[in-house]
């Protein structure tokens, strides 16, 4: 919405005058470095990875520094501990073929991190996810902001009678459609944008159709696939804030604000010590091959 408005505004400005964006040099204060946890865990049998890095000066202009020597575990039902092993590249991995998948729906999984003598924890409940019943595609003419080509949609129905949060990930021939572009993180609160009316429905139009790259739609022979991830409210809210803060530009920008992490000191007292998010998700998958 905000983005659309901004684009509109720019369109209007292009016609009547000249808006412009250019990089400038600014000197910023330096802040202390903090541990960053990027832990999106799914219920499938693929290796599960938690990435641990450190925050750095804003104009670092290099990959984030890696955090080594961290002890990372997830605690499952009946006290079972899944240990995540460091590859010395900041990737801490657990292979579900050893002790089983992280797949107890309804269980509140606990992340435990020991770093520099401190212990941090976070809880995330594994929510169920509905099946993706079907996918369709259709040829569409070019319009403002979208090119000519094949556009796909997915059909799934939200669970009735409970509050659900989802992230929809889109793929093209098995590759993420929009790697690392926060603008296209597709989120859904129940089947829409929240509110009572959104419960228990088929995912609504703009959400279920946002799985095609509008600048470069599908071609015949390509495969469009979708993953539907169940989320907790705090992971959902984290991603929502990420969308806002990572691309916070234009006339409709929001006040710059820190994104609240759901990982806290084990005593629960220290705020803002660790950055990032812990989330466990159920995932359902579907795909379709585009044919002319």
């Amino acid at each position: 919405m905000k983005k659309t408005l901004h684009n509109l505004m720019l369109m209007a400005l292009c016609i009547v005058m000249v808006a412009c964006e250019d990089p400038i040099d600014i000197e910023l204060d330096e802040g202390r470095s903090q541990l960053v946890v990027d832990a999106f865990i799914s219920n499938d049998m693929n290796p599960q990875t938690i990435r641990l890095t450190k925050s750095a000066n804003f104009f670092l202009n290099a990959a984030a520094p890696i955090a080594n020597n961290v002890n990372v575990n997830i605690e499952g039902p009946n006290g079972v501990i899944y240990n995540f092993v460091n590859d010395n590249q900041g990737n801490y991995t657990y292979d579900p073929t050893t002790m089983g998948a992280i797949d107890s729906v309804g269980f509140n999984y606990r992340l435990l991190i020991s770093y520099n003598g401190e212990v941090y924890q976070s809880f995330s409940k594994l929510n169920p996810v509905p099946d993706i019943d079907s996918m369709t595609f259709a040829f569409e003419e070019a319009e403002l902001g979208s090119e000519e080509g094949y556009y796909s949609q997915f059909y799934a129905t939200d669970f009735r009678g409970r509050k659900d949060y989802y992230r929809i990930k889109a793929f093209r021939n098995g590759e993420p459609l929009y790697p690392e572009n926060p603008e296209f993180i597709n989120l859904s609160e129940d089947a829409a944008f929240g509110g009572e009316g959104a419960d228990g429905l088929q995912f609504i139009f703009p959400i279920r159709a946002a799985i095609t790259d509008e600048d470069n739609p599908f071609l015949p022979g390509e495969i469009s696939s979708v993953e539907l991830w169940s989320l907790n409210q705090d992971a959902y809210s984290f991603l929502q804030q990420m969308v806002t803060q990572a691309n916070n530009d234009g006339l409709f920008s929001e006040p710059a604000a820190n994104i609240r992490s759901n990982i806290l000191d084990i005593s629960g007292s220290a705020q803002d010590e660790v950055l990032g998010v812990f989330s466990v998700s159920s995932v359902s998958i579907n795909s379709i091959t585009i044919t002319p």
Binding site: L5, A12, F58, L144, G195, T244, A256
Partner: protein
């Protein structure tokens, strides 16, 4: 009781009536009616009415108004008299530059302080963006007024938010004063009579907003003859028509504008862009009817919309309607009864490929009001005004529905209702030869009404979302929460001599409406909400002192004012609050204090070939909210330490005139990060100190020029035309609207600071204006 005091006064009679323009029959606001021998006088009120009570005798009464020839009448006062007087406009012979500007005395003489008036003539002289004269953009050049930047809605007065300005169009509030996101305002300058900005010493007659009153009065329409006025510019065209319906009794004015950037752009757009729409239009209309000497009726209305779309539609606009009745009960008691309707709404919709999938969203604020105001001219020392107002509000935060696969669903948020009442009384009193007082009180009352839900939230760490504890349903008209406030007001003026005075004022203002906006600059989709059990009314106290002085027979007027303002219950938001479709929005709101203080210097040259003003303000505007900036004071988004405007206009000869503006102001504050981190490959900014507005973007400055060509053939014909050539932002400064911190699109590991300039180069324009 008042009437009995009046009848006790012996052998005193009253002269009263209306002061009008001889050419159009238009009532003149603020004309002076003076008896020089006694040094007494009054000014006509906003309806052009005056009343002056004197002892029996013969008097020379002088009627004057800026830009009009003075008239002196000898009046033999042996009984009460109604004298409606017409003044002729001063013919501006350029060869004989007359220095006479009686209205300018008001700078020193009037009890009002912190007030700026601009008439439509002045507005039209100011070099404007794309050559289009604009009311709000002219207001931005006045002392004490700032803006977040080009393209943001509204304006900020003495450290207050944009929702703290009561913007009145013929007494009806306008909830969003902007077209095209803020580049133009909704007022058609051809239909505007005059504009008054009241920043301090606000009289009890006004209430409902904390920081200012922008009182825009529409023309009544020419009562003598049919005339028209209009213009063709690069972005829009204007046309207004006015004339008598019944000569000297009834008249009308209709004025319309429409932008046509979309039509002009059409041939240059691709096929797939041809369906896109972006335009705005507005229509302003007014009729008035003088039933008899004692009764006048006015009906006025405004309707305007901005429309954007391309595969979806986004539009917004205001609609207002005002009916007014002016009644003269007797020589001393005047009444204006106003009833108005005002609506602001915006809508957003997605036009999907089939009717099986749709999305539409609408949000609105609708208000209805009845407002009686009385002026009682007790004697030539005391003018009493009293009255009241009742406003009923209907808020629709989101009326939204979508159709998904043929199944329709309503995701609207509940409507909210409220009523706001006010009663006031004030007296303007002359105390001896040098002192004048205006004192009074306004009592305001607000009820948040059913049908609705009272939400109760629990406490939490400031800055976190408050948990909803319980809800309670209320029926129609039941009061969910209720507040009332006394708002004392006082202004004092002391004359030092003929040409200088000291003034001081105190006012308390209460505001029950809140504009919820989670964007850095205000936009058309900001949400108006009432005071509720969770959102308390905003309160501001302001004191101001000023020194006012005129020079060289009122050729120059000058003022120096200091003010200090204290704000309570200022709304802010938890970090990353969601304001749309959020049923528990009240749990995301924070409340804090504010303060603002400053010095405003103003010098204006009223007459001669060179006219204009220099305004300089040094001020601070700060907020303190638990949960933001570690609970410390921080500068508000519109805090600008220095603010300078130079506005000038030079009449070169009868053919050419030139105007220039120069604006300089300190950069606005912004929140910059200290660190960055990566999640899912996305680089995110982070501020380890949790600061708000810890940096400032670069200073803003700009020069605008314009030249007006009046063809000589105008003199011999009714059709008067002029060409206006203008250049906005002459030296192409890339003034930053904001600085953003982002990942580089090409190289994702690189982060950069991006300066966003809304207007990044000079903007030339030409427009053709005409009158007939």
């Amino acid at each position: 009781m008042l009437l009995s005091i009046a009848s006790n006064a012996q052998k005193k009679y009253t002269i009263s009536g209306y002061v009008k323009s001889a050419s159009s029959g238009e009532e003149l606001i603020g004309a002076n009616i003076i008896v020089r021998s006694l040094s007494v006088g009054v000014s006509s009120n906003v309806y052009g009415f005056y009343s002056l009570t004197l002892e029996e005798g013969t008097y020379e009464v002088t009627y004057s108004f800026i830009g009009f020839d003075e008239v002196t009448k000898t009046i033999d006062l042996t009984q009460n008299q109604q004298i409606d007087l017409e003044l002729k406009e001063t013919v501006n012979e350029l060869d004989v530059v007359e220095i006479s500007s009686d209205g300018a005395e008001q700078n020193v003489n009037s009890i009002e302080m912190s007030v700026n008036k601009i008439d439509s003539k002045t507005i039209k002289k100011i070099p404007a963006l794309l050559g289009e004269a604009d009311v709000v953009r002219s207001v931005l050049l006045l002392p004490g007024v700032t803006t977040v930047g080009e393209g943001s809605t509204g304006f900020n007065v003495r450290g207050g938010g944009i929702d703290q300005n009561l913007v009145l169009l013929d007494e009806a509030p306008v909830y969003n004063s902007s077209h095209l996101f803020g580049f133009f305002s909704v007022f058609n300058p051809d239909a505007v009579k005059n504009v008054k900005l009241i920043k301090g010493g606000i009289a009890p007659i006004y209430g409902g907003r904390l920081s200012s009153i922008l009182d825009v009065r529409m023309k009544e329409g020419n009562k003598k003859e049919f005339t028209g006025e209009g213009g063709v510019g690069l972005i829009f065209s204007r046309l207004s028509l006015e004339g008598p319906l019944v000569k000297d009794k009834a008249s009308f004015i209709v004025a319309g504008r429409r932008s046509y950037a979309d039509i002009l752009a059409k041939p240059f757009l691709n096929n797939n862009l041809q369906d896109s729409r972006f335009y705005f239009y507005d229509l302003t209309a007014k009729v008035n009817y003088q039933i008899n000497e004692k009764n006048k009726l006015f009906l006025s209305g405004y309707f305007g919309r901005d429309v954007f779309g391309a595969g979806f539609i986004f539009d917004w606009g205001n609609a207002t309607a005002t009916a007014r009745w002016n009644h003269i009960f007797n020589d001393r008691l005047f009444m204006n009864l106003t009833t108005f309707f005002s609506d602001y709404d915006y809508a957003f919709g997605v036009e999907a490929e089939s009717a099986r999938d749709e999305f539409s969203w609408k949000s609105s604020i609708v208000s209805y009001s009845l407002k009686p105001d009385f002026s009682y001219y007790l004697n030539n020392k005391n003018t009493i005004k009293f009255g009241g107002q009742s406003i009923y509000y209907d808020f629709k935060p989101a009326e939204a529905s979508f159709v998904s696969g043929g199944e329709a669903n309503d995701i609207s948020l509940p409507e909210k209702f409220a009523i706001e009442n006010g009663l006031y009384i004030q007296n303007e009193q002359k105390l001896g030869a040098r002192t004048r007082l205006l004192y009074g009180v306004r009592w305001s009352q607000f009820s948040y009404l059913g049908e609705g839900v009272k939400q109760t939230y629990g406490d939490t760490i400031p800055g976190l979302r408050k948990p909803l504890l319980n809800t309670e349903r209320f029926d129609d008209w039941e009061s969910i929460a209720s507040y009332n406030n006394f708002e004392p007001r006082l202004s004092i003026k002391y004359d030092l001599d003929e040409t200088s005075s000291l003034k001081a004022s105190y006012n308390r203002m209460t505001q029950y409406l809140h504009l919820i906006s989670n964007t850095v600059a205000s936009t058309p989709i900001d949400l108006w909400l009432p005071t509720t059990n969770n959102i308390e009314p905003q309160i501001a106290d302001q004191i101001a002192f000023g020194y006012f002085r005129n020079f060289k027979k009122n050729t120059y007027e000058a003022s120096a004012e200091v003010f200090a303002k204290d704000f309570q219950n200022q709304i802010d938001y938890i970090d990353n609050a969601d304001i749309f479709f959020n049923e528990e929005l009240e749990g995301d709101l924070l409340s804090g204090d504010g303060r603002a203080y400053g010095l405003e210097l103003y010098v204006k040259r009223n007459s001669g070939r060179l006219t204009g003003w220099v305004s300089y303000t040094i001020s601070r505007s700060e907020r303190k909210v638990d949960g933001i900036n570690r609970g410390d004071w921080y500068p508000s988004r519109f805090d600008r330490l220095h603010n300078l405007s130079v506005v000038s206009s030079y009449e070169f000869n009868s053919k050419w005139s030139f105007s220039a503006n120069f604006i300089y102001s300190s950069g606005t504050p912004a929140t910059f990060p200290t660190n960055r981190y990566e999640i899912q490959g996305v680089v995110l900014p982070h501020n380890v100190n949790q600061s708000r507005n810890n940096y400032r973007i670069a200073d803003y400055h700009r020069l605008d020029l314009s030249a007006t060509l009046t063809p000589t053939k105008n003199q011999d014909r009714k059709w008067k035309s002029e060409w206006v050539f203008s250049v906005y932002n002459v030296y192409s400064r890339r003034n930053a609207f904001a600085v953003f911190f982002e990942q580089n699109d090409q190289n994702l590991t690189e982060t950069e600071a991006i300066r966003f300039s809304v207007i990044g180069s000079f903007v030339p324009a030409v427009s053709y204006n005409f009158k007939f």
